[in-house]
Symmetry: C2
Subunit: 215 residues, 2 copies
Amino acid sequence: MNIGMLGTGMVGQAIGSRLVELGHNVMMGSRSAANENARAWVRSRGQLASHGTFAEAAAFGEILFNCTAGRGSLSALEFPRRSDLNGKILVDLANPLDFSRGMPPTLTVCNVDSLGEQIQRAHPLLRVVKALNTVNVELMAHPELLHGPHDAFICGNDLEAKAEATRILNEWFGWKSVIDLGDISNSRGLEMALPLWISLQKKLGTNIFNFKIVK
Amino acid sequence: MNIGMLGTGMVGQAIGSRLVELGHNVMMGSRSAANENARAWVRSRGQLASHGTFAEAAAFGEILFNCTAGRGSLSALEFPRRSDLNGKILVDLANPLDFSRGMPPTLTVCNVDSLGEQIQRAHPLLRVVKALNTVNVELMAHPELLHGPHDAFICGNDLEAKAEATRILNEWFGWKSVIDLGDISNSRGLEMALPLWISLQKKLGTNIFNFKIVK
């Protein structure tokens, strides 16, 4: 499958690398096609990997992954043509972290809105599925790094898109448990979990942990 | 031990009832000593249970539990004399839920501040320990309702107060795992977990669930 990645940071590289391993054609998109992260990643990943602008990656992908920093997600999504977004699934991995106040980061949007909702409102025909924003990049495509069961969370308005995202998480990334929380407004809860995640990271001294829902 | 409860709702009744079962003297405090919830609770719980005003309950308790609705916590804590609060442990179970926008509730404070921090700032000599706000009232004093391990979270500035709160959670309420997240600023993460909790409640169709941290 042809897959478009928006963002060239750690999340884009981790997800993109896993997708190339699985035999998919992956184009990593950035603000400038000359992006050094993207060029280095392409050199290291062989013929299935390519890079381009946000617009080119969106045009290329049958499915898109939002791997931009949350504060840049809305502006990144302004570059593609509407016709290259409409009808496509966007798996939104981003968190709206605001580092301008220092550490720990706060959120640029929360409580009465969320980045997932903002993206969906800005692009009503894009099929946004919030996913995996509550785990660190190392775990996103390698949940087997943790022993014992633990949960991935998704939400979104489009049932078919969520079914496809669940299949990707299950079959491509290896997630055994994917909990669909409902419509895209549940992005609020998923993004607002970040401060607790950051508290836990500090306490546990590792990024490699996750939530398991016990009932 | 003499224990003062602030608040007469479900949380106050559940915690107060467990403390009476354990043989403690519990005074349930409310805005008015004529509070019907408190009177009914006292009638059903026998000689160890009593009720009074917020000021009387704070004066009575060697340890205090904040079981008020979060939007009323700061005003409830204005009634006691400072000398009846200073030096005491306040186990803060409250969430700053705002139902004024309809369901699901939002938070009255979040992101750059939290109710736990507000209480601690308003009463610098009160030893605030945020605890158990991420589980439903039924689980607070009965974690054994869930099978398999799951976690309680606490935070606060005073190490001795957190050690005592941990002992109470372990020995009185039966929590096997209590994770201390650090200083009271970690209340932000604990309170901001509520929207995810609410999404999960809707999805799972039950209040009886909790988070387990897998690492």
